[in-house]
């Protein structure tokens, strides 16, 4: 899943360092929304504004964890 998420986000957000441990600080509002929309569509989950916290978007690993958590619901 991690590789697929990196692939998806690299194509949509080429200017963002996805390997960063401070990913949220790299993002702007467009980046946050792009991540929510792309992952909602790819994994058939409902990612909303309340999910866009600095903790959930801190790194790729945190994003993977958020997606996995949503898929279990």
């Amino acid at each position: 899943m991690k590789e697929r998420i990196i692939e998806l986000l690299s194509a949509a957000l080429p200017t963002v360092d996805l390997e960063s441990d401070f990913l949220f600080s790299e993002l702007d509002s467009l980046g946050v929304t792009t991540i929510l929309m792309l992952l909602s569509e790819e994994y058939g989950i409902e990612l909303e504004a309340k999910d866009a916290t600095p903790k959930n978007l801190q790194s790729i690993d945190a994003i993977v964890k958020m997606v996995q958590g949503k898929m279990k619901v």
Binding site: S10, L13, P14, T15, F24, L27, D28, S29, L30, G31, V32, T33, T34, L36, M37, L47, E48, A49, K50, A52, T53, P54
Partner: protein, 427 residues
């Protein structure tokens, strides 16, 4: 009354009332005024001396901005490129601030805005949008841009309260503001931010609909669909589409929640502004809100500001009711969610990247922003070029919103007979 006089006035009248709230805390009018005076004492500026300072999304920005004015200096909030340092060696005493923009000309320039223009902008907004003292106005865009800075004035000149957010990216933080004990909330959102909220936060928006007094949008075209959807979600709110630029100031605004969702319709000029259409269809603005000129650039000033009128690059018409309708632009500027990007500036910056032999920057459709810059590039022979490497190179050389979001390697760039990139061939 100037912004600083207003803050001093409310520091005496309502000293304990919140003037500026950030994640870091609350400054009352009395505390804000005291900090401005203390800061002014440390600055020691000459009359008309430009003072360049970082654009931070906090109360420090307001303190420094006002302190510079209190000293008689010229406030120059710095952007990413930092060009302000070399471009603002001197200024005249009428000047209150210099804001850097791509705006009307498509090239980054320092726009001189007088204190009188700021006051007129504030009065235009208070009159048309209805700022009142019980309002909490949420700033979620960069404070060195007109869209946000122009709202600081009417908010504090009414004795109301500002809430400054770093940006709109922390959506839970944005919505948490609405739990504060204020009766009325308002904000300015560029159309792409509205699109974003409609996509990922419609339930949250609807939940605070009774609290939102008004939302103003502007700086780029908003679609009929987004206007209608926003009206549905916020049936109790007043929703405005405003025509403004750093060069012209705040000119027109149209309450689409009341009079109907019509794309491109910007309403009648506000009380300190006038607008007419030139023979070439160009929108020409005049009145007390317009800029004094471009810093250190009399030639550029003469191109745009003539006989008290600002000749914009926007095209439009005025209908029988005197309302302005925008139709497009006369130049190649790409409007990215309200930020203007000159493709030549992007190409010039990218040309310095050795692995690229040639490139062209063109507009491309984008689901959220409407349009974004896309870079078509020709890799130098034998070189492997990753979009990420180009983006990394461009970061720091041009402002972040100008860095293309989309990239495509091509075999050659089509050019016109005189060697310029043939943009029309790609549209």
């Amino acid at each position: 009354m100037s912004l600083e006089e207003a803050i001093g006035h409310y520091a005496r009248l309502t000293p304990d009332k919140a003037a500026v709230i950030t994640a870091g805390g609350t400054l009352s009018y009395a505390a804000l005024w005291e900090r401005i005076r203390q800061k002014a004492d440390t600055l020691k500026l000459r009359e008309g001396e430009p003072y360049v300072f970082p654009t931070t999304q906090d109360a420090d920005f307001i303190v420094t901005y006002c302190a510079v004015h209190l000293c008689g200096g010229v406030a120059v909030p710095r952007s990413v490129s930092g060009n302000e340092i070399v471009n603002c060696k001197s200024s005249n005493s009428k000047c209150s601030s210099i804001l850097f923009t791509t705006g009307t000309t498509g090239t980054s320039k320092g726009v001189i805005v007088s204190g009188e223009a700021w006051t007129a902008n504030a009065e235009n907004l208070i009159d048309r949008l209805g700022f009142t003292s019980d309002l909490l106005f949420i700033i979620c865009g960069p404070l060195n841009h007109l869209g946000s800075l122009s709202k600081v004035y009417p908010t504090l000149m009414c004795g109301a309260t500002l809430y400054i957010l770093e940006s709109l990216k922390d959506l839970p933080a944005f919505f948490s503001v609405f739990s504060l004990p204020f009766r009325k909330f308002a904000t300015f959102l560029v159309p792409s931010s509205i699109r974003m909220l409609l996509q990922v936060a419609p339930k949250e928006l609807a939940a605070v609909s009774r609290k939102i007094d008004f939302i103003e949008t502007g700086a780029a075209a908003i679609s009929r669909h987004d206007m209608e959807r926003l009206c549905q979600l916020l049936p109790h709110s007043r929703l405005f589409n405003t025509y403004a630029s750093t060069e012209t100031g705040i000119i027109c605004s149209y309450e689409f929640s009341r009079y109907g969702c019509e794309p491109g319709l910007l309403g009648k000029p506000m009380k300190h502004s006038s607008v007419r259409i030139g023979e070439d269809g160009r929108v020409i603005c005049s009145g007390r809100t317009i800029m004094s000129g471009y810093a250190e650039s009399p030639e550029a000033t003469a191109q745009v500001l003539r006989h008290g009128e600002v000749f914009t690059s926007d095209t439009g018409f005025i209908d029988n009711e005197g309302m302005l309708h925008l139709q497009g632009r006369l130049d190649d500027v790409i409007n990215v969610g309200g930020y203007k990007v000159n493709p030549s500036e992007v190409e010039d910056a990218a040309a310095g990247f050795q692995p690229i032999a040639d490139c062209i920057c063109i507009p491309a459709p984008h689901i959220l922003l409407g349009t974004v810059p896309k870079l078509l590039y020709v890799p130098r022979q034998g070189k492997e070029v990753k979009p990420r490497d180009i983006a990394d190179y461009l970061k720091g050389r041009i402002e972040s919103y100008k860095v293309p979001l989309l990239y495509e390697a091509v075999d050659a760039i089509r050019r016109t007979y005189n060697g310029k990139p043939d943009r029309k061939a790609y549209t």
